[in-house]
Amino acid sequence: MIALIASRIAIMIPNVIILTFLLFAATTSFLGTPAAIMLGEDASPESIAELNAKLGFDEPLLMRYWAWVTDALSGDFGRSYSTQQPVAEMIANALPLTMELALWAILFAFFGAALINSATFLKGFVDRVVAAVSVVGITVPNFFLGLLLIYLFSVQLRLLPTTGWSPWENGAGKHLLHMILPVVTLTTFYFSSFSLVYKAEYKSVENNLFIRAARAKGLSESRISYRHILPNSVLPLVTYAGLSLGQLVGGAVVTETVFSMPGMGRLLVNAISARDFPVMLAVGMVIIVGVMLLNLLADITYSLINPLVRTAG
């Protein structure tokens, strides 16, 4: 078990280093030096060179990467070019919201897919509803689904707040009310793809002899579904949930923009349009490293609940 985790981490470390270096090199070399952006087009080459030297941009790439990483590890991501605010502070403000949004979505999608699709004793009904929701979830882009929900529930029915966000401190009820539409938007896609994965596994488990034995014993269909098939079909969902975390972050970025929520997505989008290099880099890094860490977590969870992997590991 420990050996398995250790080997996973051993594989992950070089990956993180290579990816973060690529991101760093790409952002710095494509965007040009920050001094040129900060001083504008009319700046003289001397003043650009001077500011570059001040910011440490005259050093070789590898040195700058190393400096950035050591600073980042001590919690210093530099300052935003456009607002002069420490980037670490901006991320600390934005990250919890994105994580909350993603967490709700993955919880609802995961348990929803497992519990709803196990209701086979309701025969065709559930299947048809899930199939309809799945087509919507897979083909309707997040931004459009979000807008559609805003139009229906906020503009037409006036049931829910349109956009924006209310922090926990202003009351949990208000906070959750603002969360409903974004969470539904983000969940629909994952519910659809999780359902596909779960249903396939469910069907193959259903063919096992022990299910036939349970049926022969006279157990009710719902008991067979939830006590015998579900626990044996839920494992691939754990792997799949881990693999789709990256997509989930992408979905969160779009969803936050639709609902104008001040999360990581909006931070990244604003930074890109303002060419705010330190913010862009830091948000990109946090997202990539975060996704990889959570993936590792999913892997470890998987091996904890699946004894087969543990021995084979």
Binding site: V135, P141, V258
Partner: protein, 263 residues
């Protein structure tokens, strides 16, 4: 395919409509998609069936012309993804061993990464254009193609006819060209269609975030973004192009999934 499934028929019908809209845009669209006029934010009427946007452009005409941009990016990105992903998947599946282990590691890292965020950062650096969008989306979706083809190759290379070919002394390249490739082609085509739908989906999301094909080109994601300001008073401006995106994505998704479906 022995019989045509409902999915396939629906998908192909939609494909005809979408393609026709792209090919015959100048004849279908009643107005210019970029010419601004003074009749701003007109309500849908017989003259402008979906109304006009904040610059007085006919929304319906912009949607019809937008099909071209959308299809261009979608198809080009899928071509890039298959050209890049297929050889990697073939190599990993066929040679196995160390090559496979290494390639799978690389593939898995990229599958786990947020494709949209990567595409966002890359297009931000390269600057948005049809070419850049296609290449970027192709590259970020290539790992999924590679993984799928690797799996298919694993199945095919264990079949008796491959064993027979090997027993008669056929070379690796012969087996790949004559046995493995033809038998993975259907999966490749199915995935190609799925990738077109994925690329249209993602490129629309990127343009919604402000990194699509630059204006004034009619671009669905951008239209939704600009129109969303007027959602309460003129819902058609932003919702209609959204429907166009969803239908086009659905078209290719239906075709791809129905090809995977029947055996």
């Amino acid at each position: 395919m022995k019989r045509f499934s409902v999915r396939l028929i629906l998908g192909l019908t939609l494909l005809v409509l979408v393609t026709a809209s792209a090919l015959f845009a100048p004849w279908i669209a009643p107005y210019s998609p970029i010419q601004t006029t003074t009749s701003v934010l007109a309500v849908p009427s017989a003259e402008h069936i979906l109304g006009t946007d904040q610059l007085g452009r006919d929304v319906f005409s912009r949607i019809i012309w937008g099909t071209r941009v959308s299809l261009q990016v979608g198809v080009a990105a899928a071509v890039v993804a298959v050209l890049l992903g297929a050889p990697i998947g073939l190599a990993a599946g066929f040679f196995r061993g160390r090559i496979d282990f290494f390639l799978v590691q690389v593939i898995d890292i990229f599958i786990a990464l947020p494709a949209l965020v990567l595409a966002l950062i890359i297009t931000a650096m390269l600057g948005p254009s049809v070419t850049n969008l296609s290449v970027t989306l192709g590259v970020v979706t290539a790992p999924t193609v590679a993984r799928l083809i690797r799996g298919q190759v694993f199945v095919v290379r264990e079949t008796l006819y491959v064993e027979a070919a090997r027993a008669t002394g056929a070379s690796s390249s012969w087996i790949i060209r004559k046995h493995i490739m033809p038998n993975t082609m259907r999966v490749v085509w199915a995935q190609f269609a799925i990738n077109v739908s994925l690329a249209i989906f993602t490129s629309a999301s990127l343009s919604f975030l402000g990194l699509g094909v630059p204006p004034p080109a009619p671009d669905w994601g951008g239209m939704v973004r600009d129109g969303s300001m007027f959602l309460p008073i003129r819902p058609a401006i932003s919702l209609a192009p959204g429907v166009a995106v969803a239908l086009t994505v659905l078209t290719f998704y239906l075709i791809g999934s129905s090809m995977n479906e029947d055996d």
